[in-house]
Symmetry: C2
Subunit: 214 residues, 2 copies
Amino acid sequence: MVTPLTRLGNSVHCDYNVYMKVTKEKASQHRRALVRAASKLFRRHGIDGVGVADIGREAGLTHGALYGQFNSKQALAAAALTDALDRSYDRMMALADAGDSPMGTYLDFFINKPHRDDIAKGCAMTASGSEVARQGKNLSRAFADGFDRFAKTLEGAMGDAPRLRSTHRQRALTIAAACIGAIVAARAVAKADPALSDDIVDAARRVLGEVGGV
Amino acid sequence: MVTPLTRLGNSVHCDYNVYMKVTKEKASQHRRALVRAASKLFRRHGIDGVGVADIGREAGLTHGALYGQFNSKQALAAAALTDALDRSYDRMMALADAGDSPMGTYLDFFINKPHRDDIAKGCAMTASGSEVARQGKNLSRAFADGFDRFAKTLEGAMGDAPRLRSTHRQRALTIAAACIGAIVAARAVAKADPALSDDIVDAARRVLGEVGGV
DNA sequence: TGTACATCAGTGAACGCGCGTTCACTGATGTAC
DNA sequence: TGTACATCAGTGAACGCGCGTTCACTGATGTAC
């Protein structure tokens, strides 16, 4: 029989069986794996809905490893949000290279039913929008950077077909916010009213296309 | 010294000091107090961010009382969402009686900086939008009912000024979703970029007014 | 109207569990010589 | 190039804490007579 841990004092007993240390490259792979795992799980279950142990497991590590790479769960969440938004942006820009009407391409990329249905791979602003408001400044920063970049991209793709008095920037900011709102609302009503959910997606795609001058 | 509880067996010791039972009217007041407390706290801290003990305390009761009135925290959350949306709707309709252009009144009511800044009293769809997608069907039902009523109200107030080809219903659904997205995005960026947050609110109010034919 | 007693809303201790974070420890990596 | 050893990424047990839910119990209310 053994006291598992004598609290105040430096003599401690426990069994460490492990093996350890890892190349610098492996370490940065692990960091990336943690960010990707967190990014996916936070989107699927919410930031409060995921434990650090879940993230470590998903990344093939233990929860302790997380604290070697990040100061806190909050700091990891900020890194995960930035990473998710960077990756979404890259995918969107890759598509835009191919198409001829960028505004139509951007709206198609964002407002569609597969995007609504696969939250874990979708835009992190739609997955965590209302949570970010309650988190710290670093998460707000990540969201603001992603949102601003999205709005600027839309602004650059704005057509001037409709006779609206608002500026391109105002319309771009509104379309960006509306893209988020449409996916959030479509997801929120989906379980109870799938037809309404479909209507929201279809309506937003069409109306925002008109606002964007497609 | 007393064993506080002997587990398997029917003989139990603990101290019950209490006083009890309450009129039917008091009981339904308590139920209402629980719903109101939950509604406020869920908006402020998120559903996962509030414990049943917090809700009981805010309502002036204990956490146990909650399970006399509701089967689970989830069931209370659904009741709280319905109640919050009903109350918001009533406030919006009361304002509309006074104004002459209902669409303008509705947009002013929803898209403004005090609404962005006071999440605990604001629209529950903006506060919990991305959380509801991850909850059960009863919460989706409450959201869908509130969203549908909001969209129908906007549809009834739709002007036909702009030469848009989309239907009134499509524009109403889009404006409803965009209202949510604008407040969600404005809150999410507020801590890191207050100027961007203001711009989102101002832009959405103006552009959605144009889409709504104000 | 007065009395006897069943009902049931509310209490608070306890349940098992998982949370975020810390920390003593490991041992291959990577560096200094 | 070869050797000695400090570094530090990762482990996993433990921390204190709060979670949602259950349940034995209370006693005024409200009903049956």
